[in-house]
Symmetry: C4
Subunit: 275 residues, 4 copies
């Protein structure tokens, strides 16, 4: 029903996504703040768009691969949903995971459309992200029936991060470009990633003894451990943010903006804040 | 206590309402965005108002018919609420359904008043819609006592869509004309409609075998199935939105706005965004 | 532990408060909308302030009387909280009701201070109202332990109105003068008032037979009945709003603003919307 | 597992913090409102920044001391987390308390960085405060397993104040400088402080008889008592706010702003409201 690798893999993805987003949003925020000293050299509107398209394509690719792997890897349902002979559902876990990937794939698709064409409103990408996270949390929420106490508990803690991200992404529909919300979303993504690893270590310890899944002291430790993961995620995100800010500033100071006179008075950078 | 038709009928209404709303809001959004190339020919303020009046009248008519049908159709209470002889309430289900229709009828009435007279503030239509959906969810919520597990579960899932719509409509009181919220409301309406059909198929399968209402695997499948309905609803709404956007744009491009000189400088279109 | 009169009395107060607020806010909204045709004759800034002071004084007076009545009426605790001889708390119900009155008294006091002096920020009156309603709901929430099913249910339904009012009043801190929120608050106040009467009739029927407090059909009827009370409250509030709007407009049309030339260009009316 | 002093100590800290914040925000609000009569003499932008830095340093110092005390005071874990010999977690309570202090320390660190450098966005201090309070409530929430009824209840009541503060601090990210939210946060901090003292008196009465922790009447009294603490906190905060307002105004009136001509037309005070 699960394995260490089955938790480490999504954990790694979310860790990478969180760190990537932190870098991206930090760079853009630094660009916006230092516009007057020519920061648009570092991240012009066109390069931002290109970055978004690459990111969406990568997410789309991996969610597609994920869906295929859940279906056709060893022990997968191979698109068969119901066993009519024995009258029971087949491989519901795999189907649920594939459904989660599907929603992240949809979010990536919408992101692609939003940033390549003009047809869709810009804020739609955040709404789709909110729906994808909500869907992930929704499926996890009804996933936990009849498991042991600690197993339920570690997954419930995960829901704080997931639903938190859904709420923050939804708020971003109305407050687009708010760096506070963006960094909070990055932090929760890193938290989710590192917590997936923690779940793997608790439920399927790769070496060392098994955890007693019904010990109340273990539950209390795990709760505290979640706080530590949150502190760790905040540390990572803020370190990265500071690094990017300082690098951008020092690079801008070293090379004065020569081409200043060539800048058009009304640059399209400001579109970024428009809904 | 229920039947396949009793779920398919409201399901069809919500499906039609969701698709209608998607078309309406997509058209108006396209009109607002392309105002500079003469899009007001396609949907002027007067025609928008006429559309709203027609929509409200139709909703009012159907909710009135629905109330009459619940009361006077075969096996209805015929306005009798309490059986004093045998001391019990009569046909509470029919009365509850009639109450739901009553609130949608009230919302339609207020919509009519708002769009024909000047007396009521514009945002009142969204508030009444939010209250109508909240009331529907509220009655469903206390509707579920003592049913079998799967029956309760499929109705609980319905509550996500209903309360979601209530919240989105309430947010629209403050963010009127936000296309993101409008499309989200349309999506949830389509979801609610298609899920009513699904409930009908699960609880009263018209052909084929009965579902085991206490099997945990069925519950897990149904949860995932809800996600699929959501994905399907998003697909429908976005396909419709794209079609309307493209058609509006291509029609505007084909026929250049000849009557441009006749346009008054301060057109009343902008009233639309005012609260 | 309770009586018919003990529910009818607060019910009447809330009904009167709801109707009074509806009239007040409708009048002011009509005044604001018709300012250009001289509506400030009907409700000038000074008269608004006078009205607020009178309202606050009345509320303060009644909450003071209420506290005294709970303490010193027949069967009250007379300020004695703990019976040291028999080691138990005295008359906790009376003390709880007095606490509820205390918070409404505090809200009225703050309202007085806000509208007579300049020292406090204007939005504080809505915050105190939100806290007073929250406190009422909070005490009711922990009030229900160990009662019969229907008794708990009718009080839980009351909480929807109470916490709803708390939330709406808190939103008004940020959206002061939004007529939609004001009318919603009025509606919920009327609902609360009429529901107190309903609770009195259900739990302590003054004539006629007792209700079976553990019958599930009664519970389902009561839930639906709550929706009807809500519809009734919306009807009352909207009828009153329309009447006031029409009266204001017709009076303004009959008597053209003669004194127009005497109006100062920058009238202090607009302060009303400032936070 | 707990003691009177263990609740009185954090209680005193929160009381002091609440009163300090009330004074600070009242002073700044009075400064902003009376800017035209030269109030910037009393609290210039530079002195505000100095105050913030001192405050953060003090909080940082005490949370560091708190962490050390939890680890190395008599009966502390001395940084040992797991007893491998007897296979159980060591001193989980101390570790949990240290974790709470850690988050307040992190919030203070970020506050320091925000107010000494330009690298971080201003609103980050409120977000970190919200996260610190959320983390405190989160750990308390999972802290209560298997205790007696009244013990659980008094800690649950505490959660209202803690999560309330988290929400208010999060709202301040978007509505910075809103005096209503600031005073509400101060009130909840004072409430939290005085309630810690109350918990100490209830669970570990320093003199007098023990409380019966399973008596329902005690629970009802305690709930009402919480309302009284809230009223008391509101009284303290509003008295302090009025005092500061009056003192500022009277001092400004006594000494007319001589140096008015020296003021630059565009003073940097207004930066305060910028996100």
């Amino acid at each position: 029903m699960g394995s260490f690798k089955g938790h480490a893999l999504p954990g790694s993805f979310f860790l990478v996504a969180g760190i990537w987003w932190t870098g991206k949003h930090s760079l853009w925020h630094a660009t916006r703040r230092n516009k007057n000293i020519g920061s648009t050299r570092l991240a012009s509107r066109a390069s931002q768009r290109r970055l978004e398209i690459i990111e969406s394509s990568v997410v789309l690719f991996f969610s597609f691969v994920g869906m295929l792997a859940e279906q056709f890897a060893a022990g997968g349902p191979r698109l068969q949903l119901y066993d009519f002979a024995e009258k029971h559902w087949e491989y519901l876990m795999n189907w649920q995971h594939a459904t989660m990937y599907l929603f992240f794939g949809l979010a990536a698709t919408v992101n692609l459309i939003v940033h390549t064409t003009e047809v869709a409103p810009l804020a739609l990408d955040r709404l789709m992200l909110a729906i994808a996270f909500f869907n992930e949390g929704f499926l996890f929420f009804y996933h936990l029936h009849g498991r042991s106490m600690l197993d339920v508990h570690v997954h419930q803690l995960l829901l704080f991060a997931i639903f938190g991200e859904a709420v923050v992404a939804f708020l971003e529909v109305f407050h687009r470009g708010n760096i506070i919300l963006e960094l909070l979303r990055c932090t929760l993504t890193v938290l989710q990633g590192s917590w997936f690893w923690q779940i793997g270590y608790v439920l399927y310890p790769p070496h060392g003894p098994e955890w007693d899944l019904n010990d109340h002291n273990n539950m209390m430790f795990i709760t505290m451990c979640y706080s530590w993961h949150l502190a760790f995620a905040m540390l990572i995100v803020s370190a990265l943010y500071c690094t990017v800010s300082c690098v951008v500033r020092s690079r801008l100071r070293r090379t004065p903006p020569m081409e200043m006179g060539l800048l058009k008075p009304r640059d399209p950078e400001s579109e970024d804040e428009i809904l």
